[in-house]
Symmetry: C2
Subunit: 500 residues, 2 copies
C-alpha cells in the first residue's frame, strides 16, 4: 500500500513540476524574447498558470497524501521522508494563509513593485513608503498565521533556510562582521595601489559574448543541456536538469561585469544540471536551499573564478579578444579582479565587503518585522549603518534604501542567503583542499573536471535530499562555521594588500 | 440569464486560450531555442499540457455550456452564435472519438513520424508503409465516429474548411488543373530564356537577416508585437494578437528562400496581428480557416512580393546588401523571381505549378480514404500522376511519395488548403483592384499601408467570425471561383513568357 501511495504522489508531483516548468519557461521568455506589446497578455497568462499551480499545491489531493502517508514515516526511506516533509512545508506555507488575504497580498506587491520602480527613478523613498508599510503589515500578519516561537523573523528565515534562527544567525553574522571590519581596516591602512584602468574602455559585446561562452564551457556548464542569453538583470532558471538557462548582460564600457555574472550564473546552472535524474517528480530536484545555491554560484565566481590560478588561465584568453590587456601582468590582472572598496551598492560590492551589505539588511529586517522600528525610520537607520560599517553614505535614496527590489514583493528573510552562500562555499573549500591539496593547479590550465566531480558528488547530485544543515555536516563534519570564510578572506586579501 | 451564461463561457474559453498559448509558446521554444538534451522532458511537458487542454475541451462544463446555450441561438448575435458553433464543432470532433482510441492514435502518429524521418533519410517508402497503413486505418475509423454523408473525405475537408465537400472541390480543382496545364504548355513552347544565375552564390546569413527584417517591417509586420527567429522549417505561431512569432531559415547558397519565406510567414503574421482585440476569449481570435490563412501568406509572398512593382522596390535594396545584383536589371530580377519550372518538390514549386502538386495529393487522398486504393499502391499512383500532370518523375521516394510529413500525423484533408489559398487570394485581389485600380503603384515605394488597411478591414480583423464561405461572399460578392486565379496567372505569365 505504501509503495502504491508513494507512486501516486510521485505522479502528482511530476505533473505539478511540469506545470511549474511551463511557468518558468514562459517567465524566461518574458525576460529574454517577448515583444514589447505582449506584456499585458503575458501577465494574464502567468497569472492563470500560477493560479493553477496554487490550486494543485493546496488541493485536497495533497492534503490526503499528507494525511495518508504521515503515519508511515518510520517505514519510509530518506528520500520518501524528505519528499513528504517538503510537500508538507510548502502545503502549510501556502494553505495557512486565507486565500483572499493571499490574493490581496499579490495585488499589494504588484503595486509596491511599480511604486518602487518609480521611487527609485525619482530617488525618493516617500513614494515607496506607504506601499512598503502595507507589505510589512501583511508579512507580519502572515507570520501570525504561520506561527513562530521566539522571534517572528525566524519564521521568515526558515522559509529560505530550513532550521535557521535569528539566535544562530546573530552569532554567525557577528563573527563575520568583526572579521570583515578587521580585514577592511587593515586594507585601508595598506599603501598598496591597485590599478583597474585597463578594465574600463570599449569592449565589443559580440566579443564579450564569445569569451563568456568559451569560459562557460570551460568551467563545466553543458551547453547541450542549457543556454546563455541576454536580459536586463542576469538570472538562472531551469525546466528539469537538462534545460538550464542563464542570462547575462553585456556592458560595453567595462570588462568584468558580463563575464563574472556569466560565471556566477554558470555556478547556479552547473548545480542544476548535476542534480540526479532520480529526483525527478519528488519535489527535491532543486537546490538544497537558497544559500546552498548561492554557495555554488559564488564558489565558481569568486573562489575559483577570481583565484590567481584561474586568472593565469583567463588573462591570455582576455588578450586574445581585447588589446586592452596587452601589457597587463598576471599580478596586475589578479589584483584588479580582487580590488576592495567599501561602496554603496550591494550588487557591485567586492567579495570582502559584500557581507556587510547583507548584515545591514538583516539587522534592519529583523527589527522591522518584530515591530521594533517603523518603515519611516528605515532610511535614517540605513544611512547610519552604512556610515558605521562601511564608512560611506548614500547621496540619495536610489543608491541607499531603494537600491534593492526585494522588499517590494515581501522577500524578507531572503538577503541572509547571499552572505551564507559565501560561508558555505568557504567551508566546502576547506574540505576540498584538505582532500585534494593541489587541486587549484588545474585551474591554471582551465581544467574544472575534478573540482566539478567533487562538487557534484558532495553537493549537486543530492538536490534537496538533505537539508542545508545535514549537507554541510555530511560534507565537512561540522555545522556552518564562519571562521572558514574569514580565514579564506584573510589569506587572500592580506596577501594582495601586503598586510598582516 | 443569457448574458451571464455567455460571460461564464467567455471566462472559460479565455482560460482554455491561455493554456493553448502556453502550449504554443513551449512548442515555439522547442523549435527555436531548446538545448539538445531537453527533448525527452519537453515531450513530456507538451504531452501533459495537451492532456490538460484536451480535458478542458471535452469536459462536462463544455457539454453543459452547449446544452444550456443551444436553445437560445435565435436570441444571440452573430458573434455569440459563431462562438457556440465553433465550440460545438471542436467539442464534437474531439468527444466523438473514444479517449483510448485517441490516445492510441497519438502513439501511432508519433511512431509514424519517426518512421517517416527514417524512411525519407533512407529514401525507402517501405519503412514508412506499415505505419502509414495504421494511420489511414485509424483515420477511416475516426470518420465512422464523426459521421459522413456522401463521401468519407468530406468529413476531413470540413475540418479544415468549414462546408467544403469533394463535390465542390472536384469542380474547382478540375477547372484549376485545366487552367494550369494550358498555361504550362504555352510556357513550354515559349522561346523566352530566363536567367537565374545571380540568385545563386554566397549570401551571408547576417546580411540576409538584416534585409529580411527590413522587408518584414516594410510589408507591415509590427516588430513590437512579434519576432523573427530561425528554425529548420519556417513557421508562424502566436500567443494572442500581440505576440506573433515567425521563423525562417537562411541558406547561404541562394538569395530567395529565406526572404520569401519571411514574407510568406509575414503574411500569416500580419493576419494574426490584425485580428480584433474584441475576439479574445471567444475562440474566434484565429484565422477564418487554413485556406484563408494561406491566402494571406500567399498574397504577401506572391501577389505582392513577386509583383513587378515590388521587385522595383526590392532590387535596389538587394543591391545594397549584395554585389551579386550589381548589373541586374529590373526585368531580369522580376523574371528570375517568377521563373516557372515543372518540378518534383511541392515546397520549392513556383506559383503556377504549385496547384498541380496539391491536386495530385488531393486525388490520391480522396481515393485512399474512401478505400478505392491501398497504401501499397500509393507510390505507383504518385509517380504516374507526376509524370502525367507535371511531366517529371521522382528518381527516389524522398523526392516523391515521402517528401511531405503531413500523412505521418494523419493530416489528410489539409493539403487542399494550400491551393485554395491561392484562389481566395486572387479573388480578393480582383475586388481590391476594382476598388483601387492604382494601388500597386504604392509597392514601387515599398508602401503597404493602404493595402494592409484594406485587408485588415475586409479579412483580418474578423478572425473566424465569418466562415470562409461567408467571408469570400461578403468581400467579393460571390462564392469561391477559380477563374480569378487562372486569369491572374495568365495575365502574369503570358506577359513574362511572351505567349498568348
Amino acid at each position: 500500500m505504501l509503495d502504491k501511495k508513494i507512486n501516486e504522489l510521485k505522479d502528482y508531483l511530476k505533473k505539478y513540476e511540469k506545470l511549474n516548468q511551463a511557468i518558468a519557461l514562459i517567465y524566461w521568455d518574458m525576460r529574454t524574447n517577448m515583444p514589447e506589446k505582449a506584456g499585458e497578455n503575458r501577465g494574464e497568462l502567468l497569472q492563470y498558470l500560477s493560479e493553477e499551480s496554487f490550486k494543485m499545491l493546496t488541493s485536497d489531493t495533497v492534503k490526503n497524501f499528507i494525511e495518508d502517508l504521515s503515519p508511515y514515516k518510520d517505514k519510509m526511506n530518506k528520500l520518501q521522508c524528505r519528499m513528504l516533509e517538503e510537500l508538507e512545508r510548502k502545503y502549510n506555507e501556502t494553505k495557512k494563509i486565507p486565500q483572499e488575504k493571499y490574493v490581496e497580498f499579490v495585488g499589494i506587491c504588484s503595486n509596491a513593485e511599480i511604486a518602487w520602480e518609480k521611487a527609485k527613478e525619482a530617488k525618493d523613498f516617500e513614494i515607496f513608503k506607504p506601499h512598503l508599510e502595507k507589505v510589512v503589515k501583511y508579512t507580519q500578519e502572515f507570520i501570525e498565521y504561520w506561527g513562530y516561537n521566539n522571534d517572528k523573523y525566524d519564521t521568515l528565515l526558515d522559509k529560505y533556510e530550513l532550521g535557521l534562527t535569528t539566535e544562530k544567525l546573530d552569532k554567525i553574522f557577528n563573527e563575520l562582521k568583526v572579521g570583515i571590519i578587521e580585514i577592511l581596516s587593515k586594507i585601508k591602512e595598506s599603501s598598496k595601489n591597485i590599478n583597474r584602468d585597463f578594465l574600463y574602455g570599449h569592449f565589443n559585446a559580440e566579443k564579450q559574448k564569445e569569451l563568456s561562452l568559451r569560459v562557460l564551457e570551460k568551467i563545466g556548464f553543458d551547453m547541450k543541456a542549457g543556454r546563455l542569453d541576454v536580459s536586463v538583470h542576469p538570472f538562472t532558471t531551469n525546466f528539469g536538469n537538462k534545460d538550464v538557462r542563464l542570462t547575462t548582460n553585456y556592458h560595453e564600457d567595462e570588462f568584468t561585469s558580463a563575464l563574472f555574472s556569466t560565471i556566477h550564473e554558470g555556478g547556479h546552472g552547473i548545480y542544476e544540471q548535476n542534480i540526479s535524474d532520480d529526483l525527478e517528480g519528488t519535489g527535491l530536484q532543486i537546490g538544497a536551499s537558497m544559500a546552498i545555491h548561492e554557495s555554488q554560484s559564488r564558489f565558481y565566481e569568486n573562489i575559483l573564478g577570481r583565484s590567481k590560478e584561474f586568472c593565469s588561465y583567463l588573462l591570455p584568453l582576455a588578450k586574445e579578444y581585447f588589446d586592452d590587456f596587452k601589457n597587463v601582468s598576471l599580478d596586475e590582472f589578479y589584483e584588479a579582479m580582487n580590488y576592495v572598496e567599501a561602496s554603496l551598492i550591494r550588487t557591485e560590492a567586492d567579495e570582502l565587503t559584500y557581507g556587510l551589505h547583507i548584515i545591514i539588511r538583516y539587522e534592519i529586517e529583523k527589527d522591522l518585522i518584530n515591530g521594533r522600528i517603523k518603515v519611516e525610520d528605515l532610511k535614517k537607520m540605513w544611512n547610519k549603518k552604512y556610515r558605521e560599517y562601511l564608512g560611506v553614505e548614500p547621496k540619495n535614496d536610489a543608491e541607499g534604501i531603494l537600491q534593492d527590489m526585494h522588499w517590494s514583493d515581501g522577500s524578507f528573510g531572503y538577503f541572509p542567503s547571499y552572505a551564507l552562500g559565501n560561508l558555505y562555499g568557504a567551508q566546502f573549500l576547506n574540505t576540498l583542499i584538505n582532500e585534494k591539496p593541489d587541486i587549484f593547479e588545474d585551474l591554471k590550465e582551465g581544467k574544472f573536471t575534478e573540482i566539478n566531480e567533487w562538487l557534484k558528488e558532495k553537493v549537486h547530485r543530492h538536490g534537496a535530499l538533505y537539508t542545508p544543515n545535514e549537507l554541510i555536516k555530511n560534507i565537512t563534519g561540522e555545522e556552518l562555521n564562519p571562521k572558514y570564510f574569514i580565514e579564506y578572506l584573510k589569506n587572500k586579501y592580506y596577501r594582495i594588500y601586503n598586510v598582516k
